[in-house]
């Protein structure tokens, strides 16, 4: 039998340790979600429930149902919109180009670094003027606008790798700007779309600040805000809070499990010589 090198062993021990550390909160969240109030008080969070029950999960879902639906609606809409617009921006900034396109890109990049807090007041004012305050549409618009800089950056970097000769070939073949985008660029964009979509989904889904500022307590309230309110309304029901957290975390976890492999995959094989 061959023994692995000591350096390897140390590495694995460290990795397992950190994985354990990172998974601990999730673990306690799961165990607590299945505990009745009695178990919450008489067991440590890490321990398994003494008499498991789905009660907290059902209670939490009843409260969170509407907000979760809201979150799904605006997260998916804003995700799709910001990815599509970012992709079109990236295409135009790399493959069409125009006088000043680098400057335009610079402005997009600056957009990435504007902190949420800095735009909060003007944002709320603008949204109320537009009549979108406390509306899902307001959240869609805000998150789309806020997502565009980062998706633009991502798509621009990816499209930089698509050989220009591919675009030139399509032009001589007779395809116009939009046809080239639809028939050549878009089908080659699976990878950046997955990356951008996962990124956008998680950051929009996890957003709290815009949700609180634009739709707190309303019909349009997002899940992140509703989750925070679980504590305020029903005091110290740890199990319900944890169950709510679990519901809230589930979509993001599922997405990472399902799409993780795409994040690793290259898609440009065979485009050019060599």
């Amino acid at each position: 039998m061959r023994f692995p090198k000591p350096r390897r062993v140390t590495l694995y021990i460290l990795l397992v340790f950190f994985a354990f550390l990172f998974l601990l909160p999730l673990w306690t969240c799961i165990t607590t979600s299945f505990k009745p109030v009695h178990d919450v008080i008489y067991t440590t969070p890490v321990e398994l429930p003494l008499s498991p029950t789905a009660e907290p999960l059902i209670t939490a879902l009843n409260i969170m149902q509407r907000p979760l639906l809201n979150s799904f609606t605006f997260t998916i809409s804003a995700m799709i919109l910001s990815c599509l617009l970012g992709s079109i921006n990236g295409y135009i900034l790399t493959k069409i180009r125009f006088r000043g396109s680098d400057t335009v890109f610079l402005f997009f990049s600056i957009g990435i670094f504007i902190p949420y807090q800095a735009v909060l007041v003007p944002l709320v004012l603008t949204m109320s003027k537009l009549g979108l305050f406390n509306h899902i549409e307001g959240l869609i618009l805000t998150h789309t606008a806020y997502g565009i800089p980062i998706t633009t950056l991502l798509f621009r970097n990816f499209y930089g790798v698509i050989p220009n000769s591919l675009i030139m070939a399509a032009k001589t073949d007779g395809a116009g700007t939009w046809t080239i985008y639809r028939r050549i660029v878009l089908p080659l964009s699976l990878l950046p779309f997955v990356v951008a979509a996962v990124f956008q989904f998680t950051s929009i889904w996890n957003d709290f600040l815009f949700g609180v500022a634009l739709a707190r307590g309303s019909e349009a309230q997002p899940a992140s805000v509703a989750l925070a309110n679980l504590r305020g309304t029903t005091e110290f029901q740890w199990n319900v809070q944890m169950a709510g957290t679990l519901w809230y975390a589930l979509p993001v976890l599922v997405i990472f499990f399902v799409l993780g492999k795409y994040l690793m995959r290259g898609y440009m094989a065979g485009a050019v010589k060599g």
Binding site: P163, S165, A169, T172, D173, A175, A271, K273
Partner: protein, 371 residues
């Protein structure tokens, strides 16, 4: 099917001038080849013709239509030029099958489904791609990808073909075959073709006319025979022909009424019919050029050198097909001669004679051909 005219075309990238003041007229239906070493501006010129690149200066005409002019602010988009281009890196669409790649230009033009199938099938047959129509590019070899790119260019009937090194990646046998097929196809279609290569054999065998380019400058334009027999300068003389032309530094001297080229190791008389052209160069440094096949071995006579012959030592004997290449040396002068057979062995001396009418003489200062 149109002629192509290029007037004063200039394109600069940053500080490197890719094309300098190019003037060129390609005739309707002509097979025209751009020949030159890597980086001399061949691809750049094609891109300007296709409209994929806007030049800094100059005009491009397709037939009677002015398609590019920076001075008159004319620019017709590549989509409207009816020019088909095959790219050096193939640029086949990686997400489409071979069939869809070849069909793409027809689909974009809104051709009928049945017409598309018919023409793609015909093109695939011509290029030996029929078995591969359902494959994706990443499942193809380099040579097969190249043929797909070629197929996409020839599937429609454009006014001009622009082919950027279309055969570079094929193996020797397939290259020779495709060369002939392509030439035949071009004859049949009669489409004006601009073809880029840095392979001079390819250029010599396929072209109606060749333009030799170097560093963005045109060195010579002419038929293969003209370039071979009357190279305009040292660059063309050295670039065309394999093995390369022999060059020897020499001085023109006058003895009595007779002009002689004095190369130190040997002296050779200037043929009387070309003497008048050389009269003004007496005393100047020249370069004499002679092709390996214009050197002959003469049976050496023991003891004495034959008249007009040069006694040289054989360094290497290289057999190439039906010929032998003799690498010869005398002092600082070395020559390559191409002969059918020889009795000489390596290390022996042979008498070499040349055909004076086949001699090329260049001005050393300007590198231009005098005769």
């Amino acid at each position: 099917m149109v002629s192509v005219a290029i007037i004063n075309l200039t394109k600069t990238y940053g500080t490197t001038a890719a094309i300098k003041d190019l003037n060129l007229e390609i005739k309707d239906g002509e097979f025209f080849i751009f020949l030159g070493p890597s980086g001399c501006g061949k691809t750049t010129t094609l891109l300007c013709i296709a409209g994929l690149l806007k030049p800094d200066k100059g005009e491009v005409w397709l037939g009677n239509e002015l398609v590019t002019s920076s001075e008159r602010d004319v620019y017709v988009t590549p989509q409207k030029r009816e020019v088909a281009m095959m790219f050096q890196d193939y640029a086949i669409y990686p997400h489409m099958t071979v069939f869809n790649n070849i069909a793409f230009p027809l689909e974009v033009r809104g051709e009928d489904k049945s017409e598309i199938v018919k023409r793609v099938t015909a093109t695939a047959n011509l290029l030996g791609l029929s078995q591969l129509l359902d494959r994706k590019p990443r499942q193809l070899s380099g040579g097969q990808r190249q043929r797909v790119a070629l197929g996409r260019a020839i599937v429609r009937k454009p006014k001009v073909f622009l082919l950027d090194e279309p055969l570079a990646n094929l193996d020797a046998k397939l290259r020779v075959k495709t060369r002939t097929d392509l030439k035949k196809l071009q004859r049949e279609l009669g489409v004006t073709t601009v073809y880029v290569t840095h392979d001079q054999v390819e250029a010599m065998t396929m072209a109606d006319r060749i333009m030799v380019q170097r560093d963005g400058v045109t060195e010579q334009i002419g038929t293969p025979e003209e370039l071979y027999n009357h190279p305009a300068n040292l660059f063309v003389a050295g670039f065309i022909g394999s093995p390369e032309m022999n060059f020897t530094d020499c001085t023109l001297i006058k003895e009595g009424a007779r002009l002689w080229l004095d190369a130190r190791e040997f002296k050779t008389p200037v043929p009387t019919q070309v003497a008048p052209k050389l009269e003004s160069y007496v005393g100047e440094d020249l370069i004499m050029g002679i092709r390996p096949e214009d050197l002959y071995e003469r049976k050496s006579v023991k003891g004495s050198t034959q008249k007009n012959a040069l006694r040289m030592t054989v360094d290497i004997i290289e057999p190439v097909g039906p010929y032998l290449l003799l690498h010869l040396r005398k002092g600082r002068c070395s020559l390559v001669a191409r002969v059918k057979h020889t009795t000489a062995r390596v290390g022996q001396e042979v008498d070499i004679e040349m055909d004076p009418s086949k001699m090329h003489i260049f001005d050393k200062k300007t590198a231009k051909a005098i005769i």
